[in-house]
Symmetry: C2
Subunit: 323 residues, 2 copies
Amino acid sequence: MIKLVGLKDIAQAAGVSISTVSNVLNGRKNVGKETRDRILQLCEEMGYQPNIMGKSLKKGQTNTIVFNFSDFERSFYLKIIKGIHDYLTENHFDLIVCTTNSSENFMRGHFTQGAIVLDRKMTDAFLVSTASSQFPIVVMDRIIENENIKSVITENYSVMCELTQTLIDKGFRKFGYIGGYESSLDHQERYQAFIDTLTMNHIPFPRTKYYHGDFSEKSGYRVTNILILSNDLPEILVCANDNMAIGAIKALRENKIEVPKDISVTGFDDSSNAENFGLTTVTIPRYESGYIAAKELVEMIRGAGNQEDFKITAKINWRETVR
Amino acid sequence: MIKLVGLKDIAQAAGVSISTVSNVLNGRKNVGKETRDRILQLCEEMGYQPNIMGKSLKKGQTNTIVFNFSDFERSFYLKIIKGIHDYLTENHFDLIVCTTNSSENFMRGHFTQGAIVLDRKMTDAFLVSTASSQFPIVVMDRIIENENIKSVITENYSVMCELTQTLIDKGFRKFGYIGGYESSLDHQERYQAFIDTLTMNHIPFPRTKYYHGDFSEKSGYRVTNILILSNDLPEILVCANDNMAIGAIKALRENKIEVPKDISVTGFDDSSNAENFGLTTVTIPRYESGYIAAKELVEMIRGAGNQEDFKITAKINWRETVR
DNA sequence: TTGTACGCGTTATCAT
DNA sequence: ATGATAACGCGTACAA
């Protein structure tokens, strides 16, 4: 077990006290030039590296925040991380990315000064008990009412209203809808917006045209095959996310039903595959979400945050699957 | 500035000494039952959280390693991270994921016990100067000769030989090839394997059938259009990665050339889009790479590592784009 | 069974 | 210009 070289070792080698070495390393002016040079030289030679824990322990702050996630299947997480990373870099904070197990350690251990939480596995109860004015938290895509927790959420509702309204304006009247998990906030908001807009326009939506999915491509494929058997194709099939829309398109193609000639399709998410299918969908600005989440968090850490949750505005991306 | 509650505060509230509290929290048997209960109760009430820095500083080890990356465009990074994460979780290590700037802090600050490095921006020189028996490093997809640095690399060569040989065995004779950046190690190894296998089988490969790409879908699309104009279609088009293969397929489809009826196509990577195109390609086990990298690193940290670099074997995934 | 004292690597205050 | 010393929060050997 080789000992790591610390201030003490440098001091000993240089024949000075620890404080002098510390002063040199922290750029204080109260050290003689030749002593300073000798010390710097020795640090180089001996490969001195400051111990981040000793430093943080003393200073009581680490300028580090943690981002917590756990779903490795969704590639847009990388965009969120990049957004967070870019803001933090500009503001001289370090970022550590963890999955839930480790995150809890780092959140509780006073090693980080705040957290951005995406993982649903981290319970509201834990977050409420962990957040404090000393340790603010930003949660993404969920809402927690707490003084020290701020939410950054995607505005599903208004963009889905806009999408539906525009489709109506284009002349569509016979709609079909594939929904996701009914427990999901995303599902609920999107579906509600869809229904509300139809209602406002006095367009009936028979419940038989609603199909249960689970956000997976397979489920979209499956229910679309059922829809096709009904022999009463809607003019347009609105899907609660891209995966299901792509599953739907595959099912339609296999049945020689052309998109958008025979039926139009829309998705939600703008996943990386959406473009390959020419899918009309809703772009959620993931990078920006991350950036904003980081910004809100840092402001809270600095004690300058306001109380309002942040809503991310999504944008419709018109492609070829809508006539 | 609210003070954080520490051992001291608990001790004071319980009317005992700090060490007694510490003993309780570390599960030692030398504390009276009623004292223990009272202390536990107070920790709960006062929301005590052990300070990870104080603890680590004392113990001299953190059981934390850092994974460094910086390219947010490639979604397979998530798979690598998951592989690393899973191994570490099984072995009671924490993982922090950082980009280059922050990583250097954590690597030097003695807060982590080792690093897995993917980012090319982190120079060989830095890595060599940072690695030690106290701080081993695993680098992915590059080779550094150093006692305390181990490489985990993808075996491009042999799998490309296998792919080419199988194609020859299937009866293909007229090959086309779309290469990537010529400076890239991936490109070089893949192309060399391709050429070597053809040569071994005495199959000529006229240089005119080689097309320059840059790994992007666009470049595949572009050069394939040129290839089509040549009016001398190969039987099979081997591409140095999936993106270019997909670009090629798009160009072929637009020209009413059917895959695989008129021409076969292969890619490399097994990107998420590959499946949608039914693309025959090479699967690089990203998850496993991460898992192995973590395993090698932990073994080095425990002083039980061997000296050899690890080569990841890729596997051919036959789909519909080859006749 | 409980408390005292020291050290981990730093920074900061106050003497010298 | 330089050094001694006290924290920061924790673990632990040893004394009481």
